[in-house]
Amino acid sequence: MHFVYFREMMRSFRQHRSVAVTAILSLTAALILSGLFLLLSWNAHVAIEQIGDRREMVVYLNDDVTASDRDVLIGRIHDLYGSVTYVTKDQAWKDFSAQIGDPSLLEAVGDNPLPASLHIKLKPELLTPDGMEATAKQISQFPEVEDVRYGAEWVRRLDQVARSLLVVTISVLAIAGLAVIMVVYNTLRLTVLTRRQQVEIMSRLGATGRFITTPFVMEAMTEALIASLLALGVLFAAQQTLAARAVSDIAFLPPVGVAGFLGGVLLLTLFASVLALSRVFRSVGS
């Protein structure tokens, strides 16, 4: 029985080749555009994640903190907020000297005025503007702490960029999804209407809705799959070209992203097919 459906689908492909090719090309164009944006969005997301990973909080300690108090503080911060790196006064001075480079300037400063500090790599759930602000407030309450610094404004802007990117990505995907639905819907309607006589005859011979519609759905799904693979191929070629010639860091979608792209397109196609066929059969089938 499944072979019958397959044969019906192939027959439809052969007889309405131009409709099928037009549908595949239209879908491919829509999917290339949305995939291109998905690719850019993915790379921007990766870049933001990497920058976000470097978001660090620096806690300056009072000069009179004893070693045991400092170790207790490090332990508590490690438990509550994230991994801690201790930078001594001497290490801080060495780093500062290395940055300045000019010994005459350093001599003018005199004794080492820099405090010891704790560099905290925050837990991922605290890497939000509000989370970082609350963390900084809490840490500053410890008596051993002189000051807490982090790029509050920078973190807030980074967050805004990430949020805007997400909104734009969702909007573009929604528009692309709508385009997929429209193309599949109209192609199927056209295909069914050009095969109206066949549908009517099958209906009069007692064919079930499933018998009549399955080849059409299979046809739409195959067209969508071909279009998706073509679009992914074009995107992969574009990514490889860009990576080789201009932006070496640009990455292709991860396997999960590719699977999601294909799955999403097929799901939308199935939805559009069911919608188109249920409407068109109301007028054709009796």
Binding site: M1, F3, Q15, I201, S203, R204, L205, G206, G209, G285
Partner: protein
């Protein structure tokens, strides 16, 4: 097997069938003769549930009255073999594929049974050597024989033929009628509608006349339902027409 109980069918202002009551038994051959526009096609369309009666009840086997759900309509049609005046064959397929389509639609048979069933039907209508031809390459008489092969391939209990010789010249008409008579003699009930009285005479079944939407016996009396098939009056106001379904 097929019962019309006070069935009327109206298309806008036009009354196609006027309170027709009539019954057809299993294995019977009935020929309905009437001029164009008398309501013959409406009669068949009511049996196949392509349309609904304006008044009255049509019963086909255990499918009784009311508007059937799509899947029950499909089930009903799979129990019938239908031959149309304009053949209703798929022009993009071979003779074999047209007949095989009916087998696939019924879905009762394994793939290995399809070829022998189709070939047997094609042999019965005398077209085994045309199995690979497109239907557009056949004469009208041959096309009608393909349509008959498609109608009988699943061995239905009833064959409906709407003006089966309407598009054929005399010799092809005789061949088609002989085929239909042979199928009936093997046990299938046969309901044929035609404008030509000689078709009825050739087939030799019960002859009914359809005139201005009224179904009459050969003597010109309005047809009536046998007492056994007359539905009892509803016992309570809530009683509704049956909506049962099942095989013919």
């Amino acid at each position: 097997m097929i019962t019309f109980d006070a069935v009327s069918k109206r298309y806008g202002e036009r009354l196609a069938l006027d309170s027709v009551s009539w019954h057809m038994d299993e294995g019977e051959c009935v020929v309905v003769v009437g001029p164009s526009g008398a309501g013959k096609t409406s009669l068949l369309r009511l049996i196949t549930h392509e349309t609904q009666p304006t008044l009255g009840t049509v019963t086909v086997g255990t499918f009784r009255g009311g508007r059937l759900k799509r899947r029950h309509r499909a089930l009903l049609r799979r129990t019938l073999g239908i031959v149309y005046e304009d053949f209703r064959l798929l022009s993009d397929r071979t003779v074999f594929d047209n007949v095989a389509l009916a087998v696939h639609i019924v879905g009762r048979f394994a793939d290995s049974e399809v070829i022998p069933r189709v070939m047997r039907a094609l042999e019965e209508v005398g077209l085994p050597l045309k199995q690979g031809a497109l239907t557009t390459e056949l004469s009208y008489g041959e096309r009608q024989r393909v349509a008959i092969a498609r109608a009988i391939v699943n061995r239905p209990a009833v064959i409906l033929a709407d003006e089966p010789t309407g598009a054929l010249e005399r010799r092809s008409s005789e061949e088609v009628l002989n085929l239909l008579r042979g199928i009936h003699e093997e046990g299938a009930a046969l309901l044929v509608t035609t404008t030509r009285m000689e078709v009825a005479e050739t087939l030799g079944g019960r002859i009914l006349r359809l005139e201005d939407g009224r179904l009459l016996t050969a003597d010109g009396e309005p047809t009536r339902l046998p007492a056994a098939y007359v539905a009892p009056a509803p016992a309570a106001p809530s009683a509704s027409p049956g909506s049962g379904h099942g095989g013919v």
